[in-house]
Symmetry: C2
Subunit: 131 residues, 2 copies
């Protein structure tokens, strides 16, 4: 029996309008100007709620949690230089299936994380090393 709330609606909308994977803090900063009364705790609270309801997905890795309105499980790439997070849809599902069968327990979810440099940072570092 959840009730309507202006704040939750704004948070839901903000997450679904973004193609990248914002943190709670980022969402808060973006929403604050047009919702001056908004509290950071409310952002965290509602994100947890939305995750629980399966409306958004939480991406855990590299410090702060990030949120994604694409709830189908998929892998991510994390750039160690700029901290950006990129979807890696190619890497999915092939792996977990047969692993899960062999495993001596219950596998409820899985996530493959990739770490390194995104193209922008790779090119930037290459440029810098030529000097």
């Amino acid at each position: 029996m959840p009730r309507y709330s202006r704040q939750r609606e704004a948070i839901r909308k903000q997450v679904s309008n973004r193609k990248d994977h914002p943190t709670a803090e980022t969402l808060y900063a973006e929403l604050k100007p047009k919702n001056p009364e908004l509290s950071l705790a409310t952002v965290y609270r509602n994100l947890n709620q939305l995750v629980e309801w399966g409306e958004v997905a939480r991406i855990d890795a590299c410090g702060a949690a990030r949120f994604d309105w694409i709830v189908e499980p998929h892998s991510h790439f994390f750039c160690r230089e700029c901290g950006c997070v990129v979807d890696m849809p190619e890497a999915d599902d092939k792996l977990p299936r047969d692993i899960a069968e062999r495993f001596d327990g219950v596998i409820e979810s899985s996530a493959s994380n990739f770490f390194g440099l995104c193209r922008e940072c790779m090119e930037k570092l290459e440029r810098e090393s030529r000097s």
Copy 2:
């Protein structure tokens, strides 16, 4: 130019003597009795150092970081009930190879994380639900 230190040696030894994946706090608790002067900060400091030198690996997921003297990258299973961490060597290397080729940047490492219930917890919960 790192120098010898009794504390680092004790930490190194403690990590390599364990087959599970202890947290910094756990290692501290285990070492403290025989090294009463040891500080938690020293444990963190040295673990970071050892990771940087490639002597131990850091496993990031589910709250506190865990440490592993097996540095070859491999996947892990995390039990949501008891919090145990189990090696999943079967899940490795199949995935990253062809992904890395297609990726528009540099993939330096990858890790597949599995979440769910370990056998013990699965059985315990089954038993509890029959009552």
